[in-house]
Amino acid sequence: MVTGVFDLVVVGAGPAGLAGAGTAGELGLRVALLDMAEHVGGQFYRQPAAGLGAARPEALHHDWDAFVALRKRLAAGRVEHLGRHHVWAVERGADGDWAVHAVVGDDGGDGRPVRVRARAVLLAAGAYERQLPFPGWTLPGVVGAGGAQAMLKGGLVLPGKRVVVAGSGPLLLAVASSLASAGAEVPAVIEASGYLGYARHPRALAVNPRKLAEGLTHGAALLRHRIALRTRSAVTEAHGSERVEAVTVSRLDARWRPVPGSGRRIACDALAVGHGLVPGIELGTTLGCGTRTTADNTLALHLGSGQETSVRGVWGAGEVGGVAGAQLACIEGELAARSIAARLGRDPGPEGRVRQLSSRRTRLRTFAEAMAATHAPGPGWTGWLCDDTEVCRCEEVTAGRVREAVADQGARDARTVKLFTRAGMGWCQGRMCGAAVSCLAGDGQPPAQRRPLAVPLTLGALAGQGPEDASEPSQSQT
């Protein structure tokens, strides 16, 4: 039952949202916590479904204790968790409060529209994986690295027996070690950048010893599972007919151009691939929240010292402010909650705590920027595309068609390419092809993150949301 106006709606129940909701609850705020999944945890702490009876869910995770602590804090406060709620828009209400619109169900398919009202909104929607296409990437058995991890954590299943892990970014090491622990053979991790890039940011490393320790843990896991790590290399083609049977791994130069003649085949029956993460910020951009460009060319919400966006009354925490990991997400969630409490006239807690959290945040943000710079895709990656490589998976638009729009039809940016070719116009609304299309269009801009409807919505659900409930002080659903 959801009634009345909440003090705070938190969108997303990952580490940032949990820390935000838990802290706000402790500070006496009435909080609604909305998330698309049934259980809290987000992608990072995704757990096996209850029916699977997992006695050791922590075996699939790093830092499970932190999650247990977050859950405890949630239970202690006045937090209403609304699982299976897919938020499609946040709208400013007439009285200066906010209406958060959602559809309900495993995939939002129950069609039941829900509106939750609140005096403040905390966006903690997390991130999704950045993909760069290559020949064969639509073959069955090629999955997102984060996707393989999610299917393992949530469903206890693997995409294959022999899984190559490729792309760029620290997630790859975690994915490889999880897959191997769960019984997959992982012949190699293929990282397009090098880890030496971190050495260019000595200060970021020096003030974050825990991050170094995490790196060593991953390194040890790779050794234990006999996983080869190849840097400055990429999967430049996946081969197979019914499903992936092998991949070609090529060396890359400093700009990520594949070195001709360097290709070597690795046999596998699955490939888990991803090139870092993209902040999920569309709920914020639709409200007009200002953005910044991160070191790896993604858009993130511009956040102030109290985690507030440029739109008064809307806060952000975790990956929406730039991908930085669970540890920072927790800090930012708590900082946001304290800032929101203060705005709503409550006691935000000890000043010393805020100072301490702020300084940790600065330190971890420094590391995140170094990480983003180290693993940022180089411009040469488009060199591994063939003209018949699909770039937009939804609309089946090839690289050749996009190049034609640029070279022959004069498209100079991703939006014009989209209008000419439909790339980015499909179901996923450019989430999968956005980075690629921007590169091919040559506009040098990060892909736009404007999606007025953040999740698919039936006309029935839209029609069921009559204007009259907007003015209702209490809106209920079971």
């Binding site: 698309m36 992608q43 096996p48 479904a49 209850a50 029916g51 699977l52 009876g53 997992a54 006695a55 050791r56 869910p57 075996a59 699939l60 495993d106 995939d107 398919g109 999704y128 994986e129 639509t138 069955p140 058995g141 090629v142 999955v143 997102g144 984060g146 996707g147 393989a148 991890q149 999610a150 299917m151 393992l152 949530g154 469903g155 206890l156 299943v157 693997l158 995409p159 622990s181 769960a182 019984g183 019914e242 499903r243 998976r393 939804c394 609309e395 089946e396 499909g426 179901w427 996923c428 989430r431 999968m432």
Partner: protein
């Protein structure tokens, strides 16, 4: 060292039940998504694309890419990576946008 994900997580699942996939009986576990049940049964694809008719299944695994759309109990365009399976569910390969039955 664990040989399966279930071993690693110490899983003792509830009783398995049957679903059908394009008419074929497949065993599924309670709580699994459609996608997880199909992966466990060795099935990787359950949609063909609208243009080229090419096979697709899970890609992003978190409900963002819509590659895994499938027809469940006659309803098209369900995201297999999000929708939980239930006993007796009829899962069908989705052709194109899954509205073939509307064609005149």
């Amino acid at each position: 060292m664990a040989r399966t994900p279930g071993e690693l997580a110490g899983a003792r699942p509830g009783p398995a039940f049957e679903i059908t996939v394009d008419g074929r009986a497949v065993s599924a576990l309670p709580g699994q998504t459609v996608a997880a049940a199909l992966w466990a049964a060795g099935v990787l694809t359950w949609r063909t694309t609208r243009g080229g008719g090419r096979p697709r299944g899970v890609f992003c695994g978190i409900g963002q890419c819509f590659d895994c759309l499938v027809t469940v109990n006659g309803v098209a365009n369900r995201r297999a990576c999000l929708v939980a399976v239930g006993p007796g569910d009829e899962v069908r390969t989705q052709e194109g946008e899954g509205r073939g039955e509307l064609a005149v």
